[in-house]
Amino acid sequence: MNTDNTIVMGVIGQDCHSVGNKVLHFAFKEKGFVVHNLGVQCSQEDLIKAAKEVNADAIVVSSLYGHAELDCRGFSTNCIKNGLNNVLLYIGGNLSIGKSEWEVIERKFLKMGFNRVFSASDDLEWAIDSIYNDISLRKFKHPVSVTENKDASQKRKVN
């Protein structure tokens, strides 16, 4: 089992929901991820910068306060602009204001370039497993970047 999956995680925008962030951090660590947690109130720039620095396999964005759509505009494009062509993008939380159809919300964020979109009611274990599998698959397809990842994360392993 490859335990060197590296993620950058954080709560985007002006959102200050810290409890879920701490629980998520703990859960990713339990599953053997190398976690770079930027905490609450992260900008797109913060997340992208950190992902470059640690050569992250994925950026896991959360948002609980309803502004996700505004905060995430252009995120995928900005990643590519900054050379993060291979990084997987995830978002989860309460992603809209009011009670909207989940399908509509999911489609919106998938269109914005996120690889998966998790709702607050999704099972946490399942979500983390999905991310784990996505990363493994990507590494299998792009073996070069795997090696890169490995080196980088070993250099900077934070736990």
Binding site: Q14, C16, V40, N94, I97
Partner: protein, 487 residues
């Protein structure tokens, strides 16, 4: 500059005021004299202070939901719905951009909301709406309005909402910083909230009674009652120094009936004693927040959590209750969900109020613990500041004498780790630098050990995560006996 717990001079205040009002276009037209005339023209029922007084006189628990949307029209509809469902006090929740003084972002969100006719902001951008919009809202609603937000620097917001006749403002230099921000220093947030409090003090001097309410629940997640109560009382003292006279102190339920009742009694009695001791004349009221932590996803189960809160609030003799909704787990609730939350709360409150005289619950043990702990914290904070409460607070957060579990701020140590005991009460597993004596610490340890034995499980991170989700799951414990039952 070293901030001290001293009333801002008129000079300081007005100098700062100039800068504050110039920080966004809608601030420029404000005039205290004109605002005084407007506020003075409002009827008594628009005043938080008066409605609270009436409620206290009649042992009535006032109900206040939460809610804010981007547009004026949307906010009116929301508040009208709240009133229709039976709410007594009106909230205007402010959007998160405004809370961080990002008025340009909230302006964009507002125009997009107006175009798409759907709120893309999580609250009402009161600064962008300005005096005109905020007064229009105030004039259209028959109950008193309060701004509820989470701004470390809410000075312009305070200016605009009070000038618009909103007669209460929630927040404080600690409670709207440490649980709401990552990088804002306490020095700055306390100073900025001294301004907000001073503003209320100045209105008070003009004969306009405005209500102030520090935000009691903090992170809303397993906060030991003595920590949140100590901070509420400290913020109350800071506000009082600036001339605030009408004060509501709040507490967020930990979902444990006896501990919650004891916490509310302790908050009320200690605050009263301490204000008196330091020579402040305060008209005090108390606020009970229904469970602020993680909510069950099933609406039917959410109703149970809400109803538990209403029951305890009445038993606590709180003056106001802040409400949750059955959609709570789904994110920002709709008007309909809010109305359901109001109705179910009102019904439970009425039923329990009707029989309150016959219910005698023994909370003495818990009350004693909370009283002792709270006094220890407050005394140590004052001591740390050599008698100055502001310096004491700043230094106490720095060295962990004050420490809020799960808070996002880098100015918070985060060494205190709470956990539930064998009877479900919130205790402290890691004390960090809390100024507790060995008697208190042993008491916590003993009770936690009883749980460890009962569940046959370690008191570790895993148990704490269970505790965070225990109210949403229903049971606080993983009972072995539960397995046996499934026959």
């Amino acid at each position: 500059m070293q901030v001290k717990n001293v009333k801002l001079t008129k000079d300081q205040f007005y100098k700062t005021r100039k800068q504050v009002l110039e920080s966004w276009s809608t601030g420029k037209s404000l005039s205290l004299d004109e605002s005084f005339r407007y506020l003075n023209s409002l009827p008594e029922h628009k005043y938080f202070s008066k409605v609270l007084d009436n409620a206290k006189r009649n042992n009535k628990l006032l109900l206040q939901p939460r809610g804010g949307v981007a547009t004026l029209r949307g906010q009116k509809t929301l508040l009208e719905g709240f009133i229709k469902a039976g709410a007594d006090l009106m909230p205007v929740t402010i959007d998160s951009y405004t809370r961080q003084n990002e008025y340009l972002k909230s302006e964009k969100g507002l125009s997009e909301s107006l175009t798409t006719k759907k709120s893309v902001l999580n609250g009402f951008p009161a600064v962008n709406h300005g005096l005109k919009g905020c007064r229009e809202l105030n004039n259209s609603i028959t109950k008193p309005l309060q701004a509820r937000h989470g701004s470390p620097d809410g000075r312009l917001l305070a200016e605009i909402i009070h000038a618009s006749g909103w007669t209460s403002n929630e927040g404080g230099g600690i409670s709207y910083n440490i649980p709401y921000s990552k990088n804002v220093s306490l020095e700055k947030s306390i100073y900025d909230w001294q301004y907000c409090d001073r503003l209320v003090g100045i209105y008070e001097e003009m004969g306009i009674s405005l209500n102030r309410e520090p935000f009691g629940p903090l992170t809303g997640t397993l906060v030991p009652p003595s920590i949140s109560n100590a901070i509420a009382i400290i913020e109350g003292l800071l506000a009082a120094e600036q001339g605030v006279k009408n004060l509501s102190l709040g507490y967020g339920s930990v979902g444990h009936i006896v501990q919650d009742i004891a916490a509310m009694i302790s908050l009320r009695t200690l605050a009263t004693d301490i204000f008196k001791k330091y020579g402040y004349t305060i008209n005090l009221s108390t606020v009970y927040h229904q469970w602020m932590g993680n909510f069950p996803r099933e609406e039917s189960a959410a109703y149970s959590v809400i109803n538990l809160g209403s029951l305890t609030a009445v038993l606590s003799a709180a003056n106001k209750m802040i409400l949750k909704t059955p959609h709570e787990a789904e994110g920002i609730p709709t008007l309909e969900a809010n109305m359901d939350g109001i109705r179910t709360s009102e019904h439970m409150v009425k039923m329990i109020s009707s029989q309150i005289g016959s219910i005698k619950i023994d909370v003495t043990d818990e009350l004693q613990i909370i009283n002792e702990e709270t006094n220890l914290i407050i005394d140590k904070v004052l001591d740390t500041g050599d008698g100055d409460l502001v310096q004491g607070t700043i230094k106490s957060f720095a060295n962990g004498v004050l420490d809020i579990p799960f808070a996002p701020s880098i100015y918070n140590q985060g060494s205190v780790i709470p956990i539930r005991d064998h009877l479900g009460a919130v205790r402290i597993l890691e004390f960090g630098n809390l100024p507790f004596n060995s008697h208190i610490k042993n008491l916590h340890r003993e009770k936690i050990n009883k749980r460890v034995k009962m569940e046959n499980r370690k008191a570790n991170h895993d148990m704490i995560v269970s505790d965070i989700f225990s109210i949403s799951n229903g049971s606080f414990f993983k009972r072995k006996s539960h397995e046996v039952m499934k026959c």
